[in-house]
């Protein structure tokens, strides 16, 4: 019997311990902030984030920030939304920049213009890479501050270029180049099976939008209330892609991670992917590779992507403390530190002059391509609409269906109708 009693006591202790907290409570005079952040690239990023936040906490004694890992971009957004609806929003969060409109729809965040004006207004904004600020603006206000940013770039295998007699210092500059180079790079064995592709472009709206812009089209409108997909320009893009797929110099349907693996393994000569994959590719390939701007067509244009800092509606003191934290995190030396650990692009121009960062780009000049592309090539914002998750899904599935062999006209027409329906309430 005593054994049973012991067991019961043990169980009760266990259950009581579930509710036990040793948490840091708000101390007198110290403002306690909760920050949600997602992890979007490989590596011990959560650790890096924790140690940067710890350094911020040590640097002063008025604000204490708790860094809270919140999954991927999607989970982080869901966690923030849930907490907001329950009246316990995080004070500050890193979220996918195009979620801005959703956050505005639920009235969860505050504009940052007053804070920016205190820091010097335009001169402060100009410290950032201008292309990254586009997506932060809406209705004449600035709603977020860039943090972990990226842009799609071209990766190409210099060993393969040499092998087929292409100049390894001359990446394809136009769509025509891309097609011609891919023809040369493709290797087909005697049975007609492709053993090496010329180029791989994954099914993803983030790679589709720049192609569409290059063909002279546009996808989402400025206000984020409409997307145009049933257009002559998207037919130009799909005909170009389908042409290469039919020629068997590009696989028709490939998923994101698969294309990266194919490039590192030497299954494709050219790859469209995020600058965020650079560290991974560098670590895992034995080939000599380089990075380049995306090839141009009617326009020489690209887009950006990634996560920004948002400040949630809380109290005046918490909002001001959150701004103080963001200001510290985006100092040139700190954004350089984050970039070195993660592979994202530093968001401030001055970061490229920090000695540690210079040392890195001297050793890996491939890392500078993204920055140059952002500064030299026309860069438009990432796709941003209301109900953006649904639109992303729609564009991805439409692309996949068409590349998979579905009828071009009918699929585009259908997709346009679906998109109009999703965004109906915002017209």
């Amino acid at each position: 019997m005593s054994k049973k009693i012991l067991l019961i006591i043990l169980t009760i202790t266990l259950i009581v311990s579930l509710g036990w907290t040793e948490g840091k409570q708000e101390e007198k005079g110290v403002i306690y902030l909760r920050m949600y952040y997602p992890v979007g690239v490989a590596g011990a990023l959560a650790k890096l984030m924790d140690s940067m936040v710890a350094d911020f906490n040590k640097s002063q004694n008025e604000v204490y920030v708790e860094s809270i890992f919140a999954g991927g971009y999607r989970e982080a957004m869901e966690k923030a939304q849930t907490a907001f609806l329950a009246g316990k929003p995080p004070d500050v969060a890193v979220l996918d920049a195009p979620t801005l409109l959703t956050l505005l729809d639920i009235n969860a965040i505050i504009p940052l213009d007053t804070f920016i004006d205190q820091e010097g207004g335009k001169s402060y904004v100009d410290e950032f890479i201008p292309a990254f600020m586009k997506i932060a603006r809406h209705d004449g206000k600035i709603w977020s501050i860039p943090w972990q940013r990226s842009t799609p770039i071209l990766y190409y295998n210099r060993d393969f270029f040499r092998e087929v007699g292409l100049d390894p210092e001359k990446p394809p500059a136009t769509w025509d180049d891309l097609r011609n180079y891919s023809r040369k790079l493709t290797k087909t064995d005697t049975s007609g099976q492709v053993s090496r592709w010329g180029v791989e472009i994954a099914i993803n709206f983030w790679l589709f939008k720049p192609l569409l812009l290059q063909a002279g089209g546009e996808l989402d409108n400025e206000a984020g209330t409409k997307i145009s997909i049933d257009t002559p320009e998207s037919r130009v893009v799909f005909n170009f892609l389908l042409g290469m797929a039919n020629e068997k110099i590009m696989p028709a349907v490939k998923q994101w991670a698969e294309t990266v693996n194919d490039f590192t393994a030497g299954v494709t000569g050219i790859l469209y992917n995020s600058t965020g994959a650079l560290t991974h590719i560098r670590k895992s390939t034995k080939y000599d590779f380089n990075t380049a701007f995306l090839p141009a067509y009617k326009r020489r244009v690209c887009i950006e992507g990634g996560g920004n800092f948002f400040i949630f509606k809380t109290t005046k003191t918490h909002e001001a403390a959150a701004w103080k934290f963001i200001k510290w995190m985006t100092k040139p030396e700190n954004t350089a530190r984050w970039s070195l650990g993660s592979g994202y692009i530093p968001v401030k121009k001055a970061a490229f002059n920090i000695p540690e960062y210079k040392e890195y780009t001297d050793k890996w000049p491939q890392a500078l391509t993204a920055y140059k592309q952002l500064m030299e090539v026309d860069t438009e914002r990432n796709m941003m609409t209301h109900r953006v998750n649904e639109i992303v899904k729609l564009v991805n599935s439409t692309t996949e269906e068409i590349m998979g062999g579905a009828d071009l006209d009918a699929t585009l027409k259908q997709a346009q109708a679906k998109a109009d329906k999703i965004l109906e309430a915002y017209q």
């Binding site: 169980t11 266990l14 259950i15 311990s17 579930l18 509710g19 036990w20 907290t21 040793e22 948490g23 909760r34 997602p38 992890v39 979007g40 690239v41 490989a42 590596g43 011990a44 990023l45 959560a46 650790k47 708790e66 809270i68 890992f69 919140a70 999954g71 991927g72 971009y73 989970e75 869901e78 966690k79 849930t82 907490a83 609806l85 329950a86 009246g87 316990k88 990226s150 994101w256 991670a257 990266v260 693996n261 590192t264 393994a265 030497g266 299954v267 995020s274 965020g276 994959a277 560290t279 991974h280 670590k283 895992s284 390939t285 034995k286 992507g305 990634g306 592979g343």
Partner: protein, 283 residues
């Protein structure tokens, strides 16, 4: 036709057909597990090269060390174990009492209440995340292990399972116990629970696996290392959607996470399968 039939008959008679089928199915089940182990011991360049080996050319152990560095897995282990045991302990009490009431006691509206209870099975947990979160927040339980567990303290599935098991117990046994002076709650502990043991084991297995693997709710309702579970640590590796996940580390971490469950299952395999057969759960 006749010849074919006799071959078939012989195949069935010697269980050859079922053995072939079982062999194919076990291969299908084992391949992913084997790939997980093999990937965890490979280096990234080897994994991503085009020539594929089932067994790594060079076995390396650094993936485990690196994976352990990504998240505080030791602490997450503690939390997860405390959590699943506590949830199970509370559930066992609530479901055995509730199912006794639904199986044996007579009170007005019993069947209707039971039906409502079962409706819970049809509500996807994700759809009630916000109201649950609001409740937890108002109880001031955010960021505790209790916040993860408390919403599971009552289990519709467990109650249903146990009610069926209790109903199958003959009245005679209950009556015999009554003659010996055993009544009310005592019957639950001395008659019903011992006789429904297989159902309890089956339920325990389902409950432990479910809470061990759960990701979304713990992620939403907890913030810090003091309350978080293993799956959240694993997510730090798998959510690298913008580049590409480091498969070698991810697989090493997956082994770290599933190892205890897998071991328990292998050791008690026979027991579990018997319980499932007995309690009539399929799948």
């Amino acid at each position: 036709m006749k010849f074919k039939y006799s071959v078939l008959k012989r195949l069935v008679k010697h269980n050859i057909l079922s053995h072939i089928l079982l062999f194919v199915i076990s291969i299908l089940v084992l391949i992913p597990l084997f790939l997980m182990v093999s990937t965890a011991f490979k280096s990234l360049p080897e994994l991503l090269s085009t020539d594929f080996h089932w067994i790594p050319k060079k076995i390396i152990f650094t993936n485990f060390r690196d994976a352990m560095e990504v998240a505080p897995f030791g602490r997450y282990y503690m939390n997860t174990i405390i959590l699943v045991i506590s949830i199970l302990a509370v559930q066992l009490v609530t479901i055995s009492l509730a199912s006794y009431a639904f199986a044996r006691l007579k009170f007005p509206g019993r069947d209707i209440i039971f039906l409502f209870f079962l409706l819970q099975l049809m509500i996807p947990p994700q759809s009630i995340v916000v109201p649950n979160y609001i409740t937890i927040a108002s109880l001031k339980l955010l960021d505790t292990k209790l916040a993860i567990g408390v919403v599971y303290f009552a289990s519709a599935f467990g109650t249903f399972l146990l009610r069926q098991a209790f109903r199958a117990i003959p009245r005679d046994i209950e009556d015999a116990a009554k003659i010996d002076g055993c009544e009310g709650l005592k019957t639950v502990f001395h008659v019903f629970i011992p006789l429904a043991k297989p159902s309890f084991i089956a339920f325990a297995l389902v409950s432990v696996t479910y809470h061990w693997n759960e990701f979304f709710w713990p992620l939403i309702v907890t913030d810090t290392v003091r309350a978080r579970t293993l799956t959240v640590g694993l997510a730090m590796l798998t959510q690298a959607t913008e580049s590409t996940p480091e498969w070698t580390l991810t697989m090493a971490a997956t082994i770290i996470v599933v190892f205890p469950l897998l071991t328990i299952f292998v050791i008690f395999q026979r027991r579990f399968i018997q319980s499932f057969m007995h309690s009539g759960i399929k799948g």
